[in-house]
Structures are given as C-alpha cells and as structure tokens.
C-alpha cells in the first residue's frame, strides 16, 4: 500500500476535443503523459487510488462520431463511445446477440450506464467479457492515428494484460462485429465470486446449426490468461460434427489442458483451469440448445 493511501486523483490537465483529429493531435503532443478518457469506470478508480497517473486526460465524450451502432453489410459497427447500457438496448446490435448477453455480466447497471464498449476493449482486462466476444467473433477494430485509420482483427489486437495494439497517439474509434445468419445460438458463462465481479474464468460461445450439424463455432475464454484465448482446436472439433455426437466434457478437458492460468487470492491457476473445464461444455450446450430452438 503506498504511503499516502490516496483516494483523490493527482492533478491533470483536462481536454475535451470536439473531433477525432483534435484528440489525436493532443495524444501526439503529449505522448506518454496523456491518456484517453472514455467512460472512466476502469480508469478513474486507478487514478483515484493513484495506481496510475497522467498529466493529461483526453476526454472523448464530445466526439459524436464515436457514438452509435449502425448495420453495415453483414456486420454491425459499434462506435467506441457507445455505452454498455446503450449497446445492450440497441436494435442494430441485437443482430449480434452475444454482445447483449455479455453485457449483462458486466459489473452493475450503474457501471454500464457509463462504461463504453471501446473503453472496455482498449483497457483489455484479462477478465473482461467484450474482448473475448470480439476475439470469438473475429471482430475488427478501426483505429485512428495521425496517419489516418487502420483496421486490425481482434486476433492481433489483444496483446497482454492492459496492453493492446493501440499506439499512444491513436484512438480506437469503432469495432465491427460480423452478423451470423441461419440457426444460431449464443452463450456466455463465467465463474465469479459475486454477481458482477471480475470473472475468475469465463467463456463465450456461438453456434450455427445446419440441421443437426454444427456449421460454425466460435469459442473464446477469458480470465485464464493475460489476454482472451480463442479455442481454435475445440472449434475444429465441434464444427462439422453432429450435435449428438459431441462429447462436451472431453472437449472441455482438452481446452483446459491447453491453459496455464494465473493464480491470485480468489483462485489458483489450477482451479481456474478446472473451471474452464466445466464452463466450456456449459456454454457449448447452452448455445447449441438455443440454436436448436432458433
């Protein structure tokens, strides 16, 4: 515990740019001394406890182009400053049901009223839900910097705990999530000490059925490594198989065997692995069940 045990943030200069170009210019100007402020639900506690500090905060709240959900040719585009609450309510976003399902696990509604999709993705907490959803669905991100915009897939975005591919002078502007067609089912499950807590271990899953055969699988885990984990091998086993032929516990065990999760006061690495072993079958079964009734 630091000697001051603070709960009030250290001083900073506050900027509220009106457009993305201005925001990026500020980030360029101040480099490591600057930090983007989105919903603040993760950043502000860190600042208050003085676990992090920055001389400049660049608040994105006035940049309208960063808000809103639109449907665009087989995927949805979610502006980074869309709040989690609005994302869950959005009719456009309902085309990617995994987003709303994941949202209900995030904290509490007071947090979701301020927290943003972009903020959660950029913060990249290993136990967060949205990064796993993005990874599972092969989402792609629009990142804007001084030299313009680039698009990168989720698989290249999450690097490590609180570390992403966003450069210090860039802003995550939006995330694109592909829309699945056909008979689909979705599930999110996590093991947490209490409602809304950081997950000790979690899994997200999407299943597309063609009759009794699985035509598409998306499976990712969170809380089990420094970044979300895509269960490619398990997906290969599931995709193409007949639903009744699946040995879900086996698949769960196989996924767990690939993991080497960290431990902390709430659960050991081994225990997280065991949780994964039960969560994987759980989300597969739930998604399959939902797809069957779709």
């Amino acid at each position: 515990m630091p000697k001051a045990a603070p709960v009030k943030p250290a001083p900073f200069d506050y900027h509220c740019p009106g457009d993305l170009a201005e925001a990026i210019a500020l980030l360029q100007q101040h480099g490591d001394e600057a930090k983007v402020l989105a919903g603040g639900q993760s950043l502000i506690p860190l600042l208050s406890l003085r676990l992090s500090r920055f001389d400049h905060l660049v608040d994105l709240r006035a940049i309208e182009e960063l808000r809103g959900v639109t449907t665009d040719d087989g995927s949805i585009r979610v502006g980074a400053m869309t709040t989690q609450a609005n994302l869950a309510r959005s009719e456009d976003a309902a085309a990617v049901p995994l987003l709303a399902k994941a949202t209900s696990h995030i904290g509490h509604y007071q947090i979701r009223n301020r927290g943003t999709l972009g903020g959660s993705l950029a913060h990249a907490d290993p136990a967060a839900e949205y990064p796993a959803v993005a990874l599972a669905l092969d989402a792609s991100f629009e990142i804007v910097g001084p030299s313009g915009a680039r698009r990168i897939p989720a698989a290249d975005f999450f690097i490590s705990t609180w570390v992403t591919a966003i450069e210090p002078d860039e802003v995550l502007a939006a995330a694109h999530f592909p829309i699945w067609s056909g008979n689909c089912g979705w599930a999110v499950a996590e093991v947490a000490r209490r409602a809304g807590d950081f997950a000790m271990c979690g899994a997200v899953c999407g299943i597309q059925l063609d009759g009794q055969r699985v035509s598409r699988t998306a499976l990712a885990l969170f809380g089990v490594a420094s970044a979300p984990v895509r269960a490619h091998a398990a997906e290969s086993v599931v995709t193409g198989a007949t639903v009744d032929d699946l040995d879900l516990p086996d698949i769960g065990a196989a996924v767990a065997a690939t993991l080497d999760p960290p431990g902390d006061v709430h659960a050991s690495g081994d225990q997280r692995g065991r949780m994964a072993k039960t969560l994987v079958p759980q989300v597969l079964a739930a998604a399959i069940d939902e797809a069957r009734h779709a």
Partner: protein, 777 residues
C-alpha cells in the same frame, strides 16, 4: 407476553425520514468554519526502523498549512490508558510512529491542508527512509519467541496468557470417555467494515483551553474520558458530539492513534482539524477482527452426552489494539459450554502480537466460544454416527434444567435453547431436507445443512459498562425529552426508547424527543455496543419514566383534588379513572409544574424531571438457533445458501422489526465473513485485500431470505428485555461452516473453519481422501 400499546409494536422509525431524504448529517457532512483537512503518511512496510523523515517539501506544498510528526505530537501525550484499565499492557503510550513502524498503515506524519486533495498531494512529497526488518506475521512464530518482538518495550509477544485451568478431573474424563473428538477450529481475519469510514473533527480553543470534538463514535463519553487523559486536561473542558454515524460494529467504540493525532494536531495548530478516513485506510489500518484459532476437544459418553470440553485458544491481536490488549480469552472461558450441559471444562488462551493491523471488537468479539463448539458438535456427530440435530438434543439445556449453573459458576436463569432448536428445525423442515439432500447426492449435487445454537451473554454490564442513566423531562408544554448517554450508530435507540417512554408514561411516541450523543447534554455512558441498549438504556428510561409519571400524578392529584391511586395516565392526559372529564392534559400539568407552582400542594416539588441510573446484572442471557442449508458447487467451489432460519429469544421485544433487522445484519456479516470476506496479508506483512475490489462484501444477490421465528422468555429485569444485537453475528459463522461441511462430508472433506471461498473449497476437495474427479455433464 402480549405486546403493549407501544412496547412490542413494529413502529416505524423516527430516524428514517431524515436519512431517506439525504438530510443525515454524518461526520463528513459536518461543517466547522475554518477547518482544514488532514491526511496521513503511513508506513508501507510492516516492520522497520525509521532512519529518515523529511517533511519540508510537504510543508511548502500548495495549500498545506502544517505538517506534524512524532517529534511534534508525541511529547504532548499525557496518558493513553482507557478508563478503568490504567495498567493494561497496552502497547507503548505514544501517538505517531516514532523510531520504528510496526504494521503497514502505521501513521507516521499528519499533513493539514486546505482540502484532502492537496493533503494527499503533499503526503507524496514527504521523504521517508525505513530500514526494513523482517516482520513477525505468523502467530506461532511470534508466540514461541522465535520471531522478534513486535513491541520491544513490552518484552513479550504474548501480553495476555491464561494458563490452562478448569476442572481437576478433566484429564480423567477424557481418558474414560467412550469417544473423544478433537479439532482445531480456525476463524480467519476479517474486518468490521461499517459503510461509513471513521472520522473526527477537533476544535481546540486555546483561550478557554477547551476542546470540542465531533466524532463518528459509538461512545461520546469514552472519547471524552480518553481525550482528557491524552491531553491532561479536565474532562469537563471537553465536549464530544456524535453526528449521524454510518455503522460501527465495534470498530468505533474507541478512537485510534490516527484520531488522537488529529486532536493533538488541533491543539498545536490552533484551528479546527478534520480527518475523514478513506476506505483503503479503513480496510488496512483502522482495525481488524477475528483471526483466532482454538484447539477444541470434547469427551462423550457412548450415548452421545458430552461430559467434558477443553479449549485452547490463540488470538492474533495485531500490533495496536483499541481496547487494551483485547484478549478475549476471559470472555470465552466462562461460556465454552454454550447451550449445553457439559459438567467439566478446561480452558487456556493466549493473545499474540504480530506486525499487522491491530484488533478492535467486532460484533460478538468473543464469538469463538460458540463457533468452536458448534462446529465440533457436527464433527462429533459425524464421528460417532449420529445426526447433529440429535446430538444437540441430547445435550442442550432444557427448561427443566433451569436455573442451570455452568462450571464457570455463571447461572442461566431464563433461556430457551431447546425450544429454539426445535422451532428452527421445524421451520427449515429438517427431516424433509435430509430427504432432499439424499436425492440430490444421487444426482451428484452436494447440499448440506448446518445448525448453530448460541446462548448470548448480552448486555455485558461490568465496570464502566455496568450502568446506564436516563433523564426524562417533561417541559412546560407537556412534551417529553429524554437525555440518554447512548451513541447509536444505527441501532434504532431513539425509536425504541420513545416506545418505552410512551408505554410507561401514557403518551404517543411522537410526543417524545430523545437526545443522545453529546457529552454536554447527556449522562455518562460507556457507549452503544455489546448488545446493551435494550437492557441498560431501556430499563433506565423505563424507571425514569415511571418516576416522572409518579411526579405527574402527584401534581395532577393536587390539581384535580383526587387521590393518586384513582388517576390514570393515557393519551397525554391524566384523569380520574372512570370519568371522561375530570382530567388535565400534559400541557396543563406542565404549566402547573413550571409556572403555576404556587398552586401545588405542600409536599409537592415543582418541575417534572426524573433521573434514573440503572445497574444491570453482569450478563443478561439471550439465545438463538440458526439453521442454514446450502449447495456447494464442487467444480467452482462456489457456495449458494438456499435457506436460512433463525429462532431467537431475546425476551420481550421493544420493536420486532428492529430485532429482526439486527438479526438480519448480524447473519449477513457472519455469512459474509465465512464465504466472501478475507483480509489477506502476504509473508512480508503487506495487506493484499486493500480495497472493495478484493475485499468482498456480500450483496443483495448473494444473501438468502432470512426467516425469523420468535420464542420469548422474559429477561431478569423490570422490562423483561434481553440484548440481541450481536447474536446474529455470533451464531451465523458456524451455521454456514457446518452446512458446507455437511455438504462435502461424502467426499471425505473435513472443514475446520473459515474462510470458505472457492479457492479454499476446491483445495479441500482436491486434498480429501478418496481422490475425487469432477463429473460435470
């Protein structure tokens, strides 16, 4: 006992409207003009020698008005003993850490600034050099003298030792027993966590040499007494005021060294100083609780009757306690047999210092007397192949056993543990649950049921805690004001005492105002805690009200020319029984008493005021039985409580909703303690659970619906009440532990205490005999 017109009624609380509308005035809301805000420099290491401390940069930081260290404040300390405990082996009598630090959070310097933001900025500028030394964290290392001394001046790490004592035939009883059951019961470290942190405002008048203090305390008079000693000034030069307080649970019974520093700083600074504790400080540096273990053994006959019990207890009391050395052994020893007829007892205990945050009392601070035996009862039941309910039935004290004298010579006069055991078992449908449990096991689900009985030594009334006084005064307009020494922090003292007055006087509760929490206005009280308000305040108020009523009727008798015996008092009037019109209102009598006193009879004194200081017996025993059912998910280690029932006997209830509310709060604190709350230190003495992100409190989503049944056996005092504020917290830990143990028993898991978070449960399952494989579907 039937409820009275006001006693026994679930009257809505008069405290509520202000609090519901945001008009509560808590310590952080109190405005004292010209007050500065304080922040502390605290130790980041658990043990070390301070080799350098330079506050100059902090002193000249923006908005900083003063910075004080041990060099400034410690010489001002006269004494730091508690009233009634002048010679307690209390750690060294100083305020701020001087030459060394003894726990993470140890206060070293105080910065006084324009506001808390600037004060925290300035603390960061203080240069502090500490030669880190190996801390004494482990209790066993500390007590065996292998580690260094936490307090070298005291010369020992075990300031309170009760050597094994008890029945001379104890060993023989164990040797002769058909069965002996042993276990080491562990209660882990957790924390009081009132929703409001501590806070204090000190305003020193250098001209009058008088001190005014606003303190978020459970005892204004104890703060006053302590500060008189601290500063070496007369107690009647100190006024302590209690604002609204957001819970205390024992943490706020006494003020800590950081709060002393605020007061001392104010006397040097000469302007008011305010300190509002923050949550990190509250979790890591204010005070901790529990963290004790007991080697417990019971000797049983072949039929399951327990013939002897022996407990040897070790308590980790940390570095600086707020109540002397806070060893609880003296309170555990007499009640080791709890609700049972056990003729032979042996007990020993040690309180041990470590370089961790020191302890303060926490709701039922001696609760291991109940937690231990209740867990061991279940263990014994499993060992001898008897159902735990049946084992308790064979040993519980019954009505025909009363009065029952314990081996400790304490006497239970009016308790009903057997009745509560049966009521609780019926409420939860004990046999029905056993069937459900068996069916669930067939499906690979692990349900369990846990019983916990407790006889609660409430209203501890020894020494300074032994009495309570009330001044009950009717003014010239016939309205009643009660001056009470209490300092309620959510216990509904105001509402319940209005009910007592209304019942004993004959008026409406709305006609009564209760003043408390101000040393200038109220009679001495040791404070509000220890489940003492109903018994002590209640009877003091009742007796004073009865005396006032007597005065009232005496005056009315003169005015109405009637005999006192013929008068009734009701609805704010005194009238001749059987007449509708021959009476006077309280307002008219008030006028007579204060203004028209020439008309009073020769023997009648003017005025309408009565005072009574009530002395209670040393203990008033209440009792309860808790039964809890839960399901353990053996893959995740998560526990879900299914049902929770309480059958309680607190004698006559003043307000049933208040009683239930106290039970609910205590139960959830017990449940929270076992399943969620865990104050963790690493091997270097760093607290790892320093915010609410890691120190987990249960929320509305985790708690069961708590069902309460009542049994009533009157308390041995005129009101017939008993204390019960701590009972919910005392009985609950064992109920939860026992339910988990019962659920996991088929897996060969033995559970000896807490914490029982997922990590611990999964560890236990993995370690159990008969290697267990997860059978997830």
């Amino acid at each position: 006992m039937t409820a009275g017109r006001f006693m026994g009624q679930a009257i809505a609380r008069s405290e509520d409207p202000r609090l519901l509308t945001g008009r509560g005035r808590f310590i952080a809301d109190v405005v004292v003009p010209g007050a500065s805000d304080a922040a502390f420099l605290r130790s980041e290491v658990a043990r070390g020698r301070i080799t350098g401390l330079d506050v100059e940069a902090a002193r000249s930081a923006p908005g900083v008005r003063a910075v004080y260290t041990a060099a400034d404040l410690n010489p001002l300390v006269h004494q730091t003993s508690l009233s009634g405990m002048p010679d307690a082996p209390f750690p060294p009598k100083y305020c701020l850490a001087q030459d060394d630090v003894r726990y993470v959070g140890d206060p070293i310097a105080i910065v006084i600034a324009e506001n808390r933001y600037l004060a925290e900025d300035a603390v960061e500028l203080i240069e502090l050099d500490i030669d880190v030394q190996d801390p004494v964290i482990d209790v066993d290392a500390a007590r065996d003298g292998k580690g260094d001394l936490v307090h070298p001046e005291i010369g020992t790490n075990t300031p309170q030792v009760i050597p094994l004592f008890g029945d001379p035939d104890l060993e023989q009883a164990f040797a002769d027993a058909a069965d002996v059951v042993r276990d080491t019961i562990v209660m882990h470290r957790y924390v009081q966590v009132p929703m409001e942190c501590r806070g204090i405002i000190a305003d020193w008048d250098p001209y009058g040499e008088a001190l005014t203090v606003w303190s978020a305390t459970q005892s204004v008079h104890e703060v006053q007494a302590f500060l008189a000693g601290l500063l070496g000034i007369n107690s009647n030069k100190i006024r302590v005021l209690q604002p609204d307080v957001g819970g205390g649970f024992g943490q706020k019974m006494m003020i800590g060294r950081d709060e002393w520093a605020v007061v001392l700083a104010a006397t040097v600074f000469g302007r008011p100083v305010r300190w509002i504790e923050d949550r990190r400080e509250n979790l890591t540096a204010a005070s901790h609780a529990r963290d004790e273990r007991m080697d417990l053994a019971m000797a049983l006959n072949g039929d399951g009757t327990v013939v002897a019990i022996r407990g040897e207890m070790i308590e980790n009391i940390g570095a600086y306690q707020t109540m002397g050395s806070s060893g609880m052994g003296a309170f555990v020893a007499p009640f080791l047999t709890n609700a049972y007829k056990i003729p032979k007892v042996g007990f020993a205990s040690e309180a041990v210092y470590t370089n961790t945050c020191g302890k303060a009392p926490y709701r039922g601070p001696f609760l291991i007397y109940a937690v231990g035996i209740e867990q061991l009862m279940d263990t014994a039941a499993r060992q001898i192949g008897m159902d735990p309910l049946e084992l308790r039935r064979r040993n519980v004290i019954r009505a025909e056993d009363l009065p029952y004298t314990l081996p400790s010579l304490q006497c239970f006069d009016a308790i009903t543990p057997a009745e509560t055991l049966e009521q609780a078992a019926s409420m939860i449908d004990y046999d029905g649950f056993r069937d459900k449990q068996a069916a669930a096991r067939d499906q690979g689900r692990y349900l369990g049921i846990g019983i916990s009985l407790c006889v609660e030594p409430s209203a501890i009334a020894v020494g300074a805690l032994g009495t309570e006084a009330a001044v009950v005064r009717m003014d010239y307009s016939g309205k009643v004001t009660v001056l009470l020494g209490s300092s309620s922090t959510g216990m509904s003292v105001v509402t319940t005492m209005r009910q007592v007055v209304a019942e004993h006087l004959g008026c409406a509760p709305d006609d009564v105002t209760v003043i408390q929490g101000d040393t200038a206005a109220t009679p001495y009280s040791a404070g509000t805690g220890g489940s003492r308000s109903a018994v002590l305040c209640g009877n003091a108020v009742a007796q004073a009200t009865i005396e006032l009523r007597s005065k009232l009727t005496e005056i009315a008798a003169d005015a109405l020319e009637a005999a006192v015996e013929d008068l009734e008092v009701d609805d704010g009037r005194v009238f001749v029984r059987g007449t509708a019109t021959k009476g006077m209102t309280f307002a008219e009598l008030g006028q007579l008493a204060y203004v028209g006193h020439d008309l009073l009879g020769p023997g009648t004194t003017p005025g309408l005021e009565a005072t009574h200081r009530y002395k209670a017996p040393p203990f008033t025993f209440s009792n309860a039985c808790h039964i809890c059912t839960g399901e353990v998910d053996v893959d995740t280690g998560l526990v879900r409580i299914l049902r929770y029932v309480v059958s309680e006997d607190c004698g006559r209830m003043i307000n049933p909703k208040v009683v239930e509310g106290q039970i609910f709060g205590g139960v959830v604190q017990g449940l929270g303690g076992v399943l969620y709350e865990h104050m963790v230190y690493d091997d270097d003495g760093n607290p790892l659970t320093s915010t609410f992100v890691d120190y987990l409190l249960p929320t509305a989503a985790e708690v069961p619906t708590i069902e309460v049944g009542h049994v009533e056996s009157p308390g041995p005092n005129p009101l017939g009440v008993k204390g019960m504020g701590e009972g919910g917290a005392i009985a609950s830990p064992a109920a939860v532990v026992n339910a988990v143990a019962d659920a996991l028993a088929p897996l060969g898991v033995t559970v000896s205490g807490s914490p029982l978070g997922p990590k611990q449960i999964l560890d236990m399952i993995a370690a159990a005999d008969g290697h267990f494989e997860s059978t997830s579907s």
